[in-house]
Amino acid sequence: MPTVTVIYALLFYVATAILIVGLGFKIRQYWRTPQPLKIPTTPAPMNGSGVVVRMLREVVIFESLFKSNKWIWIFGWVFHAAMAVALLRHLRYFTEPVWGWVVLIQPFGVYAGFAMMLGLAGLLVRRFVVARVRYITSPSDILFLLLLLAIGATGLSMKFVSPTDIIGLKAFMLGLMYFDWQPLPEDANLLIHLGLVISLMIIFPFSKLLHAPGLFFSPSRNQPDDVRMKRHPGAFEAENQARGA
C-alpha cells in the first residue's frame, strides 16, 4: 500500500475518533451539567412541542439571527445551507449503490459549492470592514473561514479545473469504512482537500464549532415557559421539603 494512502487512512481514523469522542464528551458534559433555574428568553413557547418548533426555526432559518442583522443572516445562512447540500452531495463517495435522493441533488451540490464560497467570503469581509466585528475577531475566527474557503476551493477545482479520479477516491473511502484499504489517488488537489477536512474534524470538538451542539443545549432557547404550570424542583428541594413541618 502506498505510504500516502496509509497516512491518510490512519489520519481519517484518528480524526473520526477525535470528532466522535470529543463531541460525545462535550455533549455528555452539557447533558450532565444541571441547569439550576428556568431562564427561557421570553416570549417563549409554553410547552415541549412549542419548543421543538422554536428550535426548528432557529436551526433551519436562523430566526434570531434574522431578527438581528440581515447581512450576517444572509451570509451565514447561505453558507450553512449550501454546506449542508454540498455535504449531502458527498454521500455518494460513501454509499454503494448511491441513494436515489443523493443522485437527485448532485446538480445542486455544485451550485451549493459556489454559494458556500460566497457566504464565507461575505463573512470574511465583514471581519475586516465592520469595525465592531473586527474588534471581536481573534486569529482563529479568520483561520476557520480560510480553512472552510480552502476546502471549498479545492473541492470546486476538482470539479472544474483538474478533475480527480473520483472512482479511485470512492474506492478508498469505502475501503476505509469496510476496513479493506484501497489506494488513494495521489492528486495534489485531492490530498489538500482531504487534509483540510481532516484538520476540521480534529479541531471541531475544541473550538467554537461547538455552537452546533450548543444551540440544542441553550436554556434560553430549549426551555418552555411553563414555570407557573408545573413545579421545577432544584438544588434546594430536599431542604425545602424538610422545612415544611
Binding site: 451539567t33 444541571p34 441547569q35 417563549a44 438581528s68 465583514r126 466585528v133 444551540l215 441553550s218 434560553s220
Partner: protein, 525 residues
C-alpha cells in the same frame, strides 16, 4: 450637572463609532468588609485571589449548564454588537455583549479548554491578571442583565448569565459591589431594601390611607400583617415612599378596595425586589425569597400578588418555585405568583371596576416594557401576555396612548439603563448614557405624537427615569406608575369622584350633552 456630556438625541438611533476605553473609569463603589461579611463573602481581596477565582469558576461551570454552553458556543458573528444600550450610549467596545462575555471567556478558555491551554494566542485566551480583574469589575458592572442580547443571539447566549457569574466570582474573592451587597444585607436584617422597620412602615401606610380618604372621601385600607387575609401583596419598597411609585401603591389599594378583596402587606417580607439575582448568588436569592414564603405561610394567605417591579417579577415568576417552593399551602386555583397587572386586567375584563378614562385626559401615554418582565417572564398564561396585559390596562384607563417604535418595545425593548444593580449614584454617567436608546425612542413619540408621559411597571425603571430624564430635557415627572393611571381613573363606590360624575349638577349635564351633540355633528359632517 456633571463631568460628562449627555448624549445628543438625533432623528434616529445611530450605532456609535468605537471609543475604546471610554468607560473604563466607570466603577461602582466596592463593598466594605462589613457589607461583604454580612453575606458570607470575604471582606476584602483574598491573598490567593487568582486561584480562588478559577476554583469558583470551575464550580459554576459544573453546576450551571447555561454558563458552560454559552462560553463554548459563541462564534463571534457580531449579531449582538449593536444591541446593548450601554454600547449604544457609550461606544465603548467592551460594552458590546460579545466583548463583555469575552472578558470572562478568555479566562475560561485559558483555564478550562484544550485550545486555550496550548495555543492561547490563537483563540484569545488569557490568564486572570490584575488588569483583567479590573476590567471585570468595571464592565460586569456595566451590564444591566436585561437580556436584549440574548434575543438576537443565534444561540440565545445571555450575557446576563455571564455577568452574574462574574459578579459571583468577584464576591467570592472579596470584591463585591457596595450598592447591591449593602442592600441585600439590609433586607436580611430588616425585611426590605430601604431598611424601613415595621413601625415606620405602619406609619407610612396610615399616612397613605389618610391621603386616599382626603382624595376620595372613602376609607380605603392598606392593611399590614393581617392574619388570614386572602391576598399577600409583595411590592418593591420604593412603592412605600418614592414618587411616582407610591401613586402606584395607592392604585393597587383602590383596586383591591373596589374588588372587595381581603389583602395585606407583610412587615416581615415588605420587599419584592431581590437584589441577590444581580450578584448571581442563588443562595442569597433563596434567602431573600424565603422571607416571602415564610410570611405567606405565617399569615395564612391563599395567594400572592406582586406589585410593579421588573426583576422581582422575574424572580417570583421564574425562580421562586425552584428556590423556595413548593407553595403548596396556597390555593392552587390561582397562578403562583400573580402580577398586579393580571389582577387588575381580570377585574377590568369582568367589568368589576368603574373607570373614568377622562381623568387621565391631560396625559398622552406611552408604555416602557421593563426588560425583566418582557424577556424573562410572561403574564396571562400566554406568550406575549406580558406586553398585551399592561397595555390593555392602560388603554382601559386612558384615552390617549401611543406606542414607541416597534424595534424599541416588546421583546426588543431597551433597558432603562439602571437595572441589574446599577441604580446607584456612583454610576450616574453610565446610567445617563445607557438611557440614550430609550430616551431616543421616547423623544420621537413626544415630538411626533404629543406623548407627555411614559408608564412603567418597574421600581428601578421609575427611579432611573426620574433621575435621567432631566438630562435629556424631559420632565422628571413624565414617568408614571401604571397603577397611578388606574388610581386616577378608578371611580370607587360612594366616592367624591362618583358624585362628580353622577351628580345632578346642571352644568355637568349640559356639558356632556353638548359634547355628545358635537360628536354627532362630526359623524354627520
Amino acid at each position: 450637572m456633571a463631568d460628562f456630556d449627555t448624549p445628543e438625541l438625533k432623528d434616529f438611533l445611530e450605532t456609535p463609532a468605537l471609543c475604546p476605553g471610554s468607560m473604563e473609569h466607570s466603577k461602582p463603589f466596592v463593598a466594605a468588609p462589613v457589607h461583604q461579611e454580612a453575606l458570607g463573602f470575604p471582606g476584602e481581596l483574598v491573598e490567593n485571589w487568582q486561584e480562588k477565582a478559577i476554583d469558583r469558576m470551575g464550580e459554576l461551570l459544573d453546576t450551571n449548564r447555561a454558563l458552560r454552553v454559552y462560553l463554548d458556543s459563541c462564534v463571534k458573528c457580531g449579531a449582538c454588537t449593536d444591541k446593548c444600550h450601554y454600547f449604544l450610549g457609550t461606544g465603548d467596545p467592551k460594552n458590546m455583549p460579545v466583548a463583555r462575555q469575552d472578558l470572562f471567556r478568555k479566562v475560561y478558555r485559558r483555564n478550562f479548554t484544550t485550545a486555550g491551554k496550548y495555543v492561547p494566542w490563537l483563540v484569545g485566551a488569557e490568564d486572570l491578571t490584575e488588569e483583567t480583574l479590573d476590567d471585570w469589575y468595571s464592565y460586569f458592572h456595566q451590564c444591566s442583565q436585561c437580556r436584549r442580547c440574548s434575543v438576537y443571539c443565534p444561540y440565545g447566549i445571555d450575557t446576563a448569565e455571564i455577568s452574574m457569574a462574574a459578579r459571583d466570582i468577584m464576591d467570592h474573592i472579596g470584591i463585591g459591589q457596595k450598592y447591591s451587597n449593602e442592600i441585600i444585607g439590609k433586607l436580611h436584617k430588616i425585611g426590605n431594601n430601604l431598611g424601613l422597620p415595621e413601625p415606620a412602615l405602619a406609619n407610612t401606610l396610615e399616612g397613605l390611607e389618610e391621603d386616599i380618604e382626603e382624595e376620595t372621601g372613602i376609607a380605603v385600607k392598606l392593611p399590614l400583617d393581617v392574619q388570614g387575609a386572602e391576598i399577600l401583596l409583595v411590592t418593591p419598597s420604593a412603592d412605600f415612599f418614592a414618587e411616582p411609585h407610591v401613586d402606584g401603591l395607592i392604585g393597587y389599594a383602590k383596586v383591591f378596595h373596589a374588588a372587595g378583596a381581603s389583602w395585606t402587606i407583610s412587615s416581615y417580607a415588605s420587599e419584592a425586589a431581590n437584589f441577590a439575582m444581580f450578584i448571581g448568588s442563588q443562595e442569597q436569592m433563596r434567602e431573600v425569597a424565603q422571607r416571602i414564603w415564610q410570611a405567606a405561610r405565617d399569615l395564612g394567605v391563599k395567594r400572592i400578588i406582586l406589585g410593579e417591579c421588573g426583576h422581582a417579577w422575574r424572580v417570583a415568576y421564574s425562580f421562586w418555585d425552584t428556590l423556595v417552593g413548593p407553595f403548596d399551602f396556597l390555593d392552587p386555583a390561582y397562578p403562583m405568583p400573580m402580577h398586579i397587572c393580571e389582577y387588575t386586567d381580570d377585574l377590568i375584563n369582568r367589568e368589576k371596576l368603574r373607570l373614568n378614562k377622562a381623568a387621565n385626559d391631560e396625559m398622552t401615554l406611552t408604555f416602557h416594557d421593563s426588560c425583566n418582565v418582557a424577556r424573562a417572564t410572561s403574564m396571562g398564561g400566554r406568550p406575549g401576555g406580558q406586553f398585551e396585559i399592561p397595555r390593555a390596562v392602560i388603554k382601559a384607563v386612558c384615552n390617549n396612548f401611543h406606542d414607541m417604535a416597534d424595534d424599541t418595545i416588546h421583546e426588543a425593548t431597551f433597558c432603562c439603563g439602571g437595572g441589574g444593580g446599577l441604580l446607584t449614584d456612583d454610576l450616574t454617567e453610565l446610567r445617563v448614557k445607557g438611557a440614550k436608546p430609550r430616551m431616543q425612542a421616547l423623544n420621537a413619540v413626544v415630538e411626533d405624537h404629543g406623548v407627555t408621559h411614559m408608564a412603567a411597571i418597574c421600581a428601578i425603571c421609575k427611579s432611573q427615569f426620574s433621575k435621567v430624564m432631566p438630562y435629556y430635557g424631559l420632565e422628571m415627572d413624565a414617568i408614571v406608575s401604571l397603577h397611578q393611571l388606574v388610581s386616577n381613573a378608578i371611580v370607587l363606590e360612594g366616592s367624591i369622584q362618583e358624585e362628580e360624575l353622577d351628580g345632578t349638577g346642571e352644568d355637568d349635564e349640559a356639558g356632556e350633552s353638548l359634547e355628545a351633540e358635537d360628536e354627532v355633528a362630526a359623524i354627520d359632517g
